[in-house]
Symmetry: D3
Subunit: 160 residues, 6 copies
């Protein structure tokens, strides 16, 4: 495949799950981020929740980890991948912005970019769900791949 | 519940699936949008794909519709909802931006905002997956609710 | 919609989950059948299995019932439907033919034809799976709707 | 059906999903409990976890709620039920015993006993999973229905 | 196991998921076919759909690929298998017959016959679903294994 | 990790799916048991069912095997594991007690204790479901790990 063509299409031009049976098994990692923009009041409520037994971010974190495991069930052309690690963390970027970051690992023939992206998306949607009663206008402002390592196509590190 | 408190927490401060058994069954709709930002070359490739039998957007559309049906399996505190309609459409906003819009309907005791948001994010993730061989830097931007109607809490229409 | 056009397409010509929110809630039933064709020896082995504690058909039956509940997760444009009954039965048509029949009921705004068809195919695939060590050439033949009742489009009874 | 016969069997003696289409839609609730028996040291570690941002019980609670929604996918003859509420709570019965309780509600034609039981067992299994590195001998004891209300068969309240 | 006995039964005569832990990891492939019989008018409508952006076969293809990944969730005694390729294609056999073919690959200890059969079945059911408004009498006439390679039991090629 | 700390928490104190990418692939087994306590009359009815074509235990067995495959979808921090064997058996401990035992195998980097425990739990819940019309007071009295082998942490054999 050259850099200028889409994979996932067979000879008829239809989508298929690409053949990875000849690819090498290597350690592979991916990290992705989603940034939520909300009212300062909403973020304050989430922050207070952290102090309690059950908080928004604890639920979002579980949602993100479980979603990573469902990636191949959600994204049609994704291969099922034996994930060896999923970790999610949250960081306040400002008084109105919350970052969700996921790192995923596998030792397999194909990478885990989609798993990392699915994890942060599901975590961000869960934050929205749990806060929508007070802030329906909340936006998931950006979802993007931060980096990937492993595999023949080379590493990717997003320029900052 | 007042406008300033988070739902989804029980008396112990833990998350729970809120009781909707006393809410009224009404017609409810929701619409959500996500905007993909990519290289002009990538969008050109997607556009060409539209001309063929199997295209990126056809797969993304199926992914979005199927994801809407999985919402309560992905978002921990969401109720299972009998969806009566899911529709997804794509629109080019510029040479490097593609909008994904979803509209969802139900006749039930709780709304379908999360289903619309889940549909657009799954469709957007699928576009990313099918194009990542040529454009790993693609970003899913501005995932947000456009409007909701029905239910006691009143309608929501995003200011533009 | 007239009788000569396909539903499931929106104004752009793309597939969508059709709007059933204006349809009436009525009792609806559907029945479907699949016929397995196999070696007489294989059917004999299945028959003997019936005499034991765990038999091929007991597993196939559970598979068919569980698959009926997964229909909207398997068939992209199917609505989730609250099934009120699923029943599966087996009948030997000849020394080499085994029929699988499913009847499904709901009280809802759309019908259960796909649930009945999904149930018989999953049951038939399970029979194949459990017998393939001895009969890989087994064929699942004539998967078809037997009848449906309820709903505005009228009843359907297959001519025999 | 008399009180002395098992349901879930059709005329051939095979299991089926019983027909509930003639049953009345009423409010229905169920509560179930499971008791975990563990080392005092293990319970102490769980207790300390409660003080932190992410704790064992927060994860177990999400697991229990999500499992309630999967009941009809796990228990073959269960009907899919539109749950209107799921709540889980934890209580220390002694220095070595932790109770998990779930209450579930619906307004539907059949009851939610299995959803409550599935919720407490999934929550208890999650506690086990998160503590098994320090206490493999932990036991999930006394999983049982506490009460059910609604429906024609009458209420059930466990004698204490 | 001799050629004349069913596997999938344990010592008590009950079904189990057979032990494959001693089998060799090898490249394995399977191909299956399903043939749909319909009105010439229906096939004509599907054919026209191919010319449009979203067509019946594009949806059926996604359904087939996603179903292949769900095989072990549908067929009770199937092992979860890390699929490395799934491809589906369509071919008109006559004016009233449409073939759906799937090829599946893995590098694992057990084969992918069931994945190929599940893929063509789900794709065929999806075609039925999307056309049933105009042709309820459509039949899935035959579902069968075309070939399998890899594994100790030897290759299988259906006689034509 | 020392013997006195809980895993499954990251540096922020939040739950994560622990990194197993450096662990060795070895053969691993686990066995678990669940004991159901019921009326003698109920156990008698189950026993009679064994004689028929479709019995409670046949359904429970399928439920247990299928649940083992869903473990990582139910228990949030569990890794997806390629199971190579699942077997379930039933044994009467007394006139009022029924044991459900599961043995699970894999060749992988992490163990299958949770799969064995999930299997017996789902099987036991299925027995409850199919008998609850006659015996709502039935109790799952104990669910526990019997033994595990393989892996660096050493074998576990429950003292009897």
């Amino acid at each position: 495949m050259t850099d200028s063509q889409l994979t996932h299409f067979n000879a008829e031009g239809r989508a298929h799950m690409v053949d990875v049976s000849e690819k090498n098994t290597t350690d592979r990692t991916a990290a992705a981020i989603a940034t939520l923009k909300m009212d300062a009041h909403t973020l304050e409520l989430i922050r207070q929740g952290k102090m309690k037994k059950g908080d928004v971010l604890a639920v979002a974190q579980v949602a993100g980890i479980m979603a990573a495991k469902k990636t191949s069930d959600l994204i049609p052309m994704c291969h099922p991948i034996p994930l060896t690690k999923v970790d999610i963390s949250f960081q306040e970027r400002s008084d109105t912005e919350l970052d969700v970051t996921a790192t995923v690992k596998t030792t397999y023939v194909t990478g885990v970019e989609m798993e990392a992206l699915t994890a942060v998306t599901a975590a961000a949607l869960t934050v929205y769900d749990m806060c929508k009663a007070v802030d329906k206008a909340m936006v998931i402002a950006e979802v993007k791949l931060l980096e990937k390592t492993g595999g023949k196509s080379g590493d990717f590190h997003r320029a900052t």
